[in-house]
Amino acid sequence: MIIPLRWQLLELQDAYIAAIDDDRLEDWPRFFTDNALYEIIPKENEDLSLPAPILRCDNAAMMRDRVASLRHANIFEQPTYRHMISGLRVLEETGETAVMRTNYLVVNTSLEGSTSVYQAGIYKDVVVRTEAGWKFREKRVVYDTSRVQTLLAYPI
């Protein structure tokens, strides 16, 4: 059976957000190629072509370091994220690579039990087909919610 490309890419995004929402952070770097770029940057800077990010890993090793630091070094209130994604658009596609953008919304639930919108934005992704399936070669998370509430620990 030939699975349409759009379906394959949605499956990738769904698996990606499930890993974060289920707190399987150790799986998170595996969605990327070894030399992938993962960046979270406010739309405010992106619109002005200014480079300052809040988080930037330029390879998967840095992503694994991030996870190790979150698990063992950093102190923060454990977030409970739920990611919602919509509006996936494939902008370019060669069969082996695809460029796409997807809206996301992350709500967070505090220990005390209130849920609030933590962040809204878009994923700007470049994905490549590998032997292990589609992987992100670049995932740039451009967020609209420029005011980050308290801190950002977990990836988006």
């Binding site: 406010p42 988080l55 930037r56 190790a68 063992h72 070094a73 950093n74």
Partner: protein, 423 residues
């Protein structure tokens, strides 16, 4: 700066148990009345508040919205290249005029009745001022010269732009003071380029953050990044300095002079056999850019600015008070215009260390929020700020709360709060 007369009848009944800044009544963090009084005595009082970087508004007509305390202001560069700032409130009936975060325009027009103002805040045009046909306009005694926007005093020190509502505060360079200027001069020693900003919002009092940046005691205890990854930091020398008021301060952490940047790097990646290690330690690389090989330069200029150099990241942090239990932090990242592409890339990579998601900074707002929650309902209780209190001259140490004490004594005097202890 201590020109505020003490409140004779202390309506707020805020009392500092001691006169040395070592006991802080929690009411200063969780009282809306104290917050309101701070707006008057600090932000609209004899201080200079950091508004932004000149590098953010390099061209004539460039503007950026900013704040002095809770008051929204706009900083601009006028046609003649001069800096200006005004309250973002139309002189007609109070509407917000400037509605974009940044932009370029030499005219600012209020949308409500289209009164228009120059970049310096002067009223230039009033629609139907002389009426129309047989309809009347403004009265004959109406003079546009009398109805400009509320202007602030504006000065720049080495590209850092400050505004003040006070007619009496000393010129900016004197306000910063002779102890603090050399520290600013070392960072702002050549033209800079603005690299963008990130923003963080905290449900805690703005002074808890100022305390935090004056508190080297917490550095190795709250931030466990270096310890966890066995990153050795031997031979570090700390220096702490304040200005005469105690409100501004500088913390400089320097690697011993005999070691160069390469030696520092080699030491950084040395790890123990057991425990955790970074797979990619490039985030901790460092290039020596100043006379001293400083890993950390943290310098709050009261009330709204913290200058930061950590490794090769350069940031002007702006603290914006929003309520007694809320503040916003804006991290203005910058580099030098003569950065090599490699050095610029390094600065961007090291953004991972600082800011809202920073490896060695994310805990700070977590801690200030823990305090804010912990002190709720306990305005009469006070914190204990005693570390190295009996050794006030020991300034070359991280294990001290000396800067915090100096700060609170300066704050107490500026606010006119009483101390129970008599000396």
């Amino acid at each position: 700066m201590a020109e505020t007369a003490p409140i004779t009848q202390d309506v707020l009944d805020i009392r500092f148990p001691r006169r040395d800044g070592s006991r802080i009544p929690y009411a200063v963090f969780n009282s809306a009345e104290v917050y309101a009084l701070e707006q008057e005595r600090i932000f609209r009082g004899p201080t200079w508040s950091f508004l932004g970087l000149e590098a953010e508004i390099p061209e004539p007509g460039d503007y950026k919205r900013s704040y002095v305390g809770e008051t929204p202001v706009v900083m601009t560069r006028a046609k003649d290249g001069e800096l200006a700032a005004w309250v973002n409130r139309c002189s007609h009936r109070g509407a917000e005029i400037c509605r974009k975060t940044r932009g370029n325009s030499v005219v600012h027009t209020c949308v409500y009745h289209q009164w228009s103002f120059s970049a310096k805040g002067d009223l230039q045009g009033v629609p139907f001022r002389r009426g129309q046909r047989d309809q009347t306009g403004m009265p004959p005694d109406f003079d546009v010269k009398d109805h400009g926007l509320r202007k602030l005093r504006v000065e720049s020190y080495r590209g850092l732009v400050f505004g003040s509502f006070s007619e009496t505060v000393a010129p900016l360079a004197d306000y910063i003071g002779p102890q603090m200027r050399p520290y600013i001069d070392r960072i702002f020693n050549r033209p800079i380029e603005y690299l963008g900003c990130t923003r963080q919002f905290s449900n805690s009092n703005w002074k808890l953050y100022l305390e935090n940046v004056k508190d080297p005691y917490h550095a190795s205890l709250l931030h466990l990044f270096h310890t966890t990854f066995n990153i050795l930091r031997v031979g570090m020398q700390a220096t702490t300095t304040t200005d005469a008021t105690g409100l501004h301060s500088a913390l400089l952490v320097v690697k011993n002079a005999e070691d160069n940047a390469e030696g520092y790097k080699a030491q950084n990646i040395r790890t123990y056999q057991d425990g955790f290690r970074l797979e990619d330690s490039s985030v901790l690389d460092m290039v020596q850019e100043y006379e001293e090989l400083s890993t950390n330069h943290i310098q709050p200029i009261f009330p709204q600015l913290v200058i930061q150099q950590i490794h090769n990241t350069l940031v002007a942090r702006q603290i914006i008070a929003k309520a007694h239990d809320k503040f916003e932090l804006v991290f203005h990242f910058f580099g030098y215009t003569d950065d090599t592409p490699q050095l610029r890339a390094m600065r961007i990579k090291q953004a991972n260390l600082v800011g809202p998601a920073g490896y060695i900074s994310m805990e700070d707002t977590e801690a200030t929020e823990l305090v804010q929650r912990g002190i709720t309902g306990h305005g009469r209780a006070a914190s204990i700020v005693d570390m190295s209190r009996h050794k006030p001259d020991e300034t070359a140490t991280m294990i001290s709360e000396g800067l915090v004490r100096r700060f609170w004594e300066g704050y107490r005097q500026l606010m006119g709060f009483a101390a129970e202890e008599t000396l």
